[in-house]
Amino acid sequence: MTGAGETTEVPAQSEVTGYAPAELDRTTRLELYRKMVALRLFEQRAYDLFLQNLVKGTSHLSLGQEAVAAGFGQAMRADDYTFCTYRGHAHTLVRGASMTGVMAELLGRSNGILGGKGGSMHLTSVEHYAMGSYAIVGAHMPIAAGAAWSAMERDSGQVAVCFFGDGTTNIGAFHEALNLAVVWKLPVVFVCENNLYMEYTPIGSVTAVPSPAADRASAYGLERVLVDGNDPDELYGCASRFLERARDGDGPALIEALTYRKGGHSRADPGKYRPDDEVERWMARDPIDLYRGRLLELGFGAPELDEIDSGELAAVDRATQEAKDGQAPDVGAIETQVFADGGNAWRN
């Protein structure tokens, strides 16, 4: 309406394929499926708890976008770093963070993964190399570059992976991080999850180019990479390739994955600003439904997939119960962990 761009349509397959491995072993496929199911069930439960008024703050769900977290999560080395946004449940869980800890954090309990201090938007699990969820758009991009710089200097072979949204491509930190990463040839992979919207505003109406990340790759001397964000095989293949490149010392990548969120931007948003036919088209491309279909076609048995479903549901049930059993944090925690000595002593 006011903008120069157009809302990006569902991508033509021809434009976004090419990274899916020709062959993928059974275990990897089942693991991709399992990861997506786990993330889906967890977030559906989080949404239920929100409706029960148990989630007190905001929360941003990745329902519909699970393939990205699953594909990259599967491809990463255990000690690769993840940096993500306030929409970070999936990216944190997929690295191995405790479902109970994450759920309890959403409920503001003392057994939350951040002791209740951070909440939904700041999930972090350093023991799993999930180095934080950042709630200011774009800020984590240079931070991810810094982790990659450290990995490079320590010669650790680690890669940093940084997830962000389409709207994030218009903020200054995006530009600074990409330039630095290329100039220093850092082992960092930037992954734009283009779900076509910022909060309520379509990305096309405020962006100078149709593909907000891919169309800017050349400004950093990078390859243009646009992938189907709802296809875990494609994402796994793409992630594997660029993680390997980065690990080999060949520098960063910028990947744009086209996807869509099933619901609104955050907890209270019904997402009514999205045209019905657009929503319909994308709902027909649910990454889990499609992948389940593909697996069945490939000869996987429905029972083994069902078993995964029920196993993950049980895990979510357990986490829910444990989270609910958690206590409210002690107010003594308020003045802890400001400084490395564990306290808050700004004066003597």
Binding site: K56, G108, K117, N344
Partner: protein, 323 residues
């Protein structure tokens, strides 16, 4: 008089000024088609059209920079920064450019612009979406700083800010958006730089701002029941600061308490305390006490957040137990 919510008073103030002056333009993220993420600007797009009410990319430097460039060339832009925490992402434009340019050009450039932003805690949003940052703005010469506590003041002070020829940082408090109050009918404009005495008492002066005002008033009622009768002053505007109202009150009560939502260090309460400790030293009967959020980033969990901000109970106890 009509009863309006604090949120609706924002839209009412904007509509009043946009109707009156067609150089007033609004820009910000999700403010137009969506009516703002706090629903403080609904209906304005429909009423004033897509040129005067415009959605922006997520580019806070571009938003505030554009407002500045437009203000120096004939518009009166009102830019929204969705959360006050995000002023950090464009702090250079605000603190180094907007605040200093009139001075550096010896008055050649005038910047009639307003930056509206949702400030403060209480929504369990955690440390990056809950700060009270009015003192960041107050510390920068060249900015005016306003933080209303009632719907009437939202409308009247927003109108005054838009009409002011200087850049104004207008801090709306997130946890007050749903509160209601009477707003005068017809055109309503207040004056910047005038504090409001919300309650008169002779035993002590409590100075508060924004969401701390109702808390200070509640505490004052409890103290009154204990025989301690307090004046409560709503500062409303930190720059210009109505020191005379504060000094006048302290001169008569001889005690000063400030209630600040910001973390302890270098808050506006410290500035007021230092003014009083210099100018009314011999009138004071006892220590100046600042009641603030402790010097911590804010926690997210409801149980923690509630206990971090100054509560009515803490205000009450602090004043009751002061020596």
């Amino acid at each position: 008089m009509a009863e309006l919510s604090y949120r609706d008073a924002v839209a009412a103030g904007l509509a009043q000024e946009m109707e009156r002056d067609d150089t007033v333009y609004m820009i910000g993220e999700d403010i137009a088609a969506a009516g703002g993420v706090f629903k403080a600007t609904p209906g304005l797009l429909e009423r004033f059209g897509p040129r005067r009410v415009r959605d922006t990319p997520i580019s806070e430097e571009a938003i505030t920079g554009a407002a500045m460039g437009a203000a120096m060339t004939g518009l009166r832009p009102v830019a929204e920064l969705m959360f006050s925490d995000f002023i950090a992402t464009c702090w250079d434009i605000i603190a180094n450019q907007i605040a200093k340019t009139r001075y550096m050009t010896d008055g050649q450039i005038t910047l009639p612009l307003v930056i509206r932003t949702a400030n403060g805690a209480g929504s369990r949003f955690g440390a990056q979406h809950s700060q009270s940052l009015e003192n960041w703005a107050m510390a920068v010469p060249g900015l005016k700083v306003v933080a209303p506590s009632t719907p009437a003041d939202v409308k009247g002070l927003l109108a005054a800010s838009i009409r002011d020829d200087d850049p104004v940082m207008f801090f709306e408090h997130k946890s007050l958006y749903a509160t209601k109050g009477d707003v005068p009918d017809g055109e309503h404009v207040e004056e910047l730089g005038v504090a409001k005495v919300r309650r008169e008492g002779s035993d002590a002066t409590i100075v508060a701002l924004a969401a701390m005002v109702p808390r200070a008033l509640d505490a004052a009622e409890r103290l009154a029941a204990d025989g301690i009768d307090c004046t409560v002053i709503d500062v409303r505007s930190l720059v210009p600061l109505d020191t005379q109202t504060i000094l006048g009150s302290v001169r008569s009560t001889s005690r000063l308490y400030t209630v600040e939502e910001n973390p302890r260090l270098c808050g506006w309460g410290a500035e007021i305390a230092s003014i009083v400790a210099e100018e009314l030293f011999y009138d004071l009967d006892g220590p100046i006490v600042r009641i603030t959020t402790p010097h911590v980033p804010l926690p997210a969990a409801d149980a923690l957040e509630d206990a971090t901000l100054p509560t009515v109970e803490r205000i009450y106890q602090t004043i009751k137990n002061s020596d």
